[in-house]
């Protein structure tokens, strides 16, 4: 299986030093266990993406675009030429310039299926297929069989990234392709304000003010009540609608159900 991992220029979430995003290192681990893998990065510099070499990537193709260029056309052109069976990416960006939309834009341009939030990958029983274990909210998992080619994004619940090793990085190679035609990124239509991250206390709306500490904790975290994830497997549309309504009422989005009013 020919696999390409999309690598971005991430920033460390605390120090904002340039690093390989953790999700992409996880994607790399999944990919290396699955088949022949190369990396692909479009941007002015290969530096942080080249860290992937230390995680076992043998070859990183760096499409050198100009500062401020939109990387999508370059990535799409390269992937069209390469025709990999599988493209892996992180589920979201980890840096200043990224919106996390790149995988979707690339998949749309290539016209391939996109599957989000994979935690495990395995070759499918039929040739040219892939079994994807997908992470759903509340710890639920769903197994999908996907016909290749496909683009899969990786969830933080995937196996932890392998260690970066300096000696391993020395053995890898970066191929830089210069003069990649790019188009300047369209200016963002929405004005974005940037502020340093400040952790805020979580609002515990439903927590009662009284009771023992254990009771309050149980109430705040949902305690015993949510021990079974509310996942309905192949519900009927009616069941599904009822479950959604009930949930919306419980969290206070919808007004409580009104008892069937007797006709006036």
């Amino acid at each position: 299986m020919k696999i390409v991992v999309l690598l971005s220029a991430g920033a460390h979430p605390v120090s904002s030093a340039p690093v390989l995003p953790r999700l992409e290192a996880q994607a790399l681990r999944l990919a290396l266990a699955l088949g022949e893998t190369t990396g692909l990065h479009a941007g002015p510099s290969a530096a942080p993406a080249a860290d992937a070499l230390g995680h076992g990537l043998g070859l990183l193709t760096h499409l050198a675009t100009r500062e401020g260029d939109d990387p999508i056309p370059a990535l799409v052109a390269a992937l069209k030429a390469e025709t990999p069976d599988l493209v892996l990416a992180g589920r979201r960006g980890q840096g200043g310039e990224e919106t996390g939309l790149a995988p979707y834009a690339v998949a749309a341009a290539l016209g391939v299926t996109i599957v989000a939030d994979a935690v495990a990958l395995a070759p499918g029983a039929a040739p040219g297929s892939l079994v994807v274990e997908q992470a759903l909210p509340k710890g639920a998992r769903r197994r999908l069989v996907v016909r290749l080619p496909a683009l899969v994004t990786v969830h933080p619940g995937a196996p932890a990234p392998g260690a970066y090793a300096y000696g391993v990085a020395r053995r890898g190679r970066v191929d830089t392709i210069w003069g990649v035609a790019g188009s300047a990124a369209e200016p963002n239509p929405i004005a974005v304000e940037e502020r340093p991250y400040r952790p805020r206390p979580k609002l515990m709306r439903s927590a009662p003010g009284t009771g023992s500490a254990a009771e309050r904790l149980a109430a705040a975290t949902g305690g015993m009540a949510s021990s079974g994830a509310n996942v309905l497997v192949q519900p009927t549309p009616d069941e599904a609608a009822r479950a959604i309504l009930e949930h919306l009422r419980r969290i206070g989005v919808l007004a409580p159900a009104v008892a069937n009013k007797p006709a006036a």
Binding site: V14, P161, G162, A163, Y166, V168
Partner: protein, 627 residues
């Protein structure tokens, strides 16, 4: 017949030389090393008589035994060999002297035997070592009988022939053992003392800094025995399997799968295909490995000679090095092997991957903001050096600053320095981790990146000296940063506090009657030889000080060094529990500590136990009591 004994001696020496040369061919498989032969040879007698003796003498019986048997053996053999000179060989008085020397050797052989029979202590190896006393005794008794007969003028009697035959069996057996048996330690040991990889040890006895690794080397660290330098291979051959290292090793005591003696023997066995089987204590609770039979194969791995668990259980406490009479450098070997595992094979301990990546990306093993390092001092108004450019004392906070418990110690230290009117400042958000953890986990690349960055930062400011409460940081800044261009006076906080008291700038009160036992941090005591200042401070505050059985340079590790808490290799017990047990035995009410790691490890011990207090906290408490 008077020539028979000298001829035997020459044959023995020839055999021993041949065996040693065969062995030397193996040493030469190792990597090149620069050895100062001249100074080494000149220093040999001193290194042997002073430095080796200093260690050997800790076991009085072994020391006497060795003096008698080795002294007797050498003197008797040389004298018997000299009898080739006709003027001596014909002298009955001379033979009487030779007989005396063999008699001493025989007595020594009995001492060797008495230690191993009827039962040998667990730390000693069996196998060929159990035959050694008989070979010695045969050689000595045969020589004794022969020399006596010659002294009595009874040449060429059947009795003399029998005596010589006995001596021959023993002597040739000993000489044959030089390649693969116990007698190897004599030849390899002598050469090792000449060609020691850390000659500095013998002068200051404190050559403890790890050597930096050339990151452009073709292979990083040691994968097979041939990746060690030849003089290190030689040093492993000098091991006499006395098991002193094993007795001192905290991981061994905790039942973790590490035994430094076995480790050295595995390095030796990995060199050739025909090393006799190891007959000492195993790696406790070790998992099965499947070592390849071929020589010079990979050393580490579930399918190699040494399981990774063994490699990662080490706390780098250097207790083994401190106790080794053959001056073997176990920790250097372990770090070389770790470097290879971590950097060439990307196999650090599982939990280390994220820590190492945060060290690379954020300069801090927990991935926390560097600016949060001073959070412990909220309300204390710590002066930051970038705002002033200079200070008398630069206070290096270290990793402990992020820890809530250790923050109390640092607050006490800051208050004491304030009280004493010390002009100090911290680096604040510019202080990165020293990289000690990365280095001990074998990630030399990350270590060097951090070391260079820290040296560069420190180079921008003017200060008189660096004070730190973290012995690991102290060791890095004082000893290991030197090759990266960092030369500063680095002082441990206990030394500074003692100095302030002695100068009258701090007036300690009296904690009358408080019984305290002091736990020496490995990186302060063994690595830096500082054991007195903290004790003096305790004496000055009127604590009644009791010592644990293992203290000072021979103290036992808390289990927190070398990344061992991250590797978290399973054992029967926890190292800090063992150490706390030793503290409880003294009956002291307080264990005094002087290191953030020791504090965390010992505070983590559950159950009824003495309080854990840093020297700075105790001093501050005494002053508050006095005020």
């Amino acid at each position: 017949m008077t020539y028979a004994l000298p001829v035997l001696v020459f044959v023995m020496v020839a055999l021993a030389t041949a065996q040693a040369l065969r062995r030397a061919a193996w040493w030469r498989q190792g990597a090149a090393a620069e050895v100062a032969w001249g100074p080494g040879l000149l220093a040999l007698p001193r290194r042997y008589l002073v430095d080796v003796h200093h260690v050997v003498a800790r076991d009085a019986y072994a020391s006497r035994m060795h003096a008698v048997v080795a002294g007797g053996l050498i003197v008797a053999t040389v004298l018997a060999g000299l009898a080739i000179l006709p003027s001596l060989g014909g002298s009955r008085l001379y033979w009487a002297i030779v007989a005396l020397a063999f008699g001493v050797t025989a007595a020594g052989s009995l001492l060797v035997g008495a230690r191993r029979y009827p039962a040998k202590p667990r730390r000693l190896s069996g196998g060929r070592f159990q035959i050694l006393p008989f070979l010695l005794l045969a050689y000595a008794l045969g020589g004794l009988a022969g020399a006596l007969l010659l002294a009595l003028g009874a040449a060429s009697t059947p009795a003399l022939i029998a005596a010589l035959a006995l001596s021959g069996v023993g002597g040739l057996g000993l000489a044959y053992e030089v390649r693969r048996g116990p007698m190897r330690h004599a030849v390899a040991g002598a050469l090792h003392l000449v060609a020691h990889p850390r000659p500095g040890r013998f002068r200051s006895r404190l050559d403890t800094a790890l050597a930096p690794l050339d990151l452009d080397a073709a292979r990083l660290g040691a994968e097979t025995p041939a990746d060690f330098t030849w003089n290190r291979l030689l040093s492993y051959d000098s091991c006499i399997q006395c098991g002193r290292c094993e007795t001192a090793c905290p991981a061994f005591a905790a039942g973790q799968p590490l035994n430094p003696k076995r480790l050295i023997q595995d390095l030796v066995a990995g060199m050739t295909a025909d090393e006799p089987p190891y007959a000492g204590s195993p790696y406790p609770n070790a998992r099965e490995v499947d070592p390849p039979a071929a020589p010079l194969a990979r050393l580490i791995g579930p399918d190699a000679r040494i399981h990774p668990d063994t490699l990662w259980a080490c706390t780098t406490c250097r207790a083994c090095v401190e106790e080794c009479p053959m001056m073997i450098e176990h920790v250097d070997a372990i770090v070389s092997l770790r470097r290879n595992e971590t950097m060439e094979f990307a196999r650090p301990p599982e939990k280390a991957a994220d820590i190492l990546s945060d060290l690379r990306g954020a300069g801090e093993p927990g991935g926390r903001a560097l600016s949060a390092r001073t959070d412990f001092a909220a309300g204390l108004d710590l002066p930051v050096i970038s705002a002033r450019g200079e200070a008398d004392v630069l206070l290096w906070l270290g990793e402990g600053a992020y820890d809530l418990r250790y923050g109390r110690t640092l607050r006490a230290l800051v208050r004491l320095m304030r009280d004493a009117g010390v002009d100090f400042a911290v680096l604040g958000a510019e202080e990165r981790d020293t990289g000690d953890l990365a280095r001990r986990l074998g990630d030399e690349a990350t270590y060097q990146q951090l070391a260079r960055a820290n040296v560069e930062t420190l180079g921008r400011y003017r200060f008189g000296r660096i004070v730190t409460a973290d012995p690991h940081a102290l060791h890095a800044l004082r000893n290991e940063y030197r090759v990266f261009g960092g030369e500063w006076t680095v002082v441990h906080h206990t030394a500074l506090l003692l100095e302030l008291i002695e100068a009258g700038r701090l007036k300690p009160g009296v904690l009358g009657g408080l019984s305290v036992t002091y736990h020496d941090p490995c990186y302060l005591g063994r690595y830096n030889g500082e054991t007195e200042a903290p004790r003096k401070v305790l004496d000055l505050i009127g604590a009644s000080r009791v010592e644990m059985a293992r203290s000072g340079r021979r103290s036992m590790c808390c289990g927190g060094g070398g990344g061992a808490p991250i590797s978290d290799v399973a054992g029967d017990r926890r190292i800090p529990d063992i150490r706390m047990g030793q503290a409880i035995e003294t009956g002291a009410a307080v264990v005094a500590v002087a290191c953030p790691t020791c504090t965390a490890m010992l505070e983590g011990v559950t159950g009824v136990r003495p309080d854990v207090k840093d020297i700075a906290e105790l001093l501050l408490a005494s002053m508050e009591l006095g005020a």
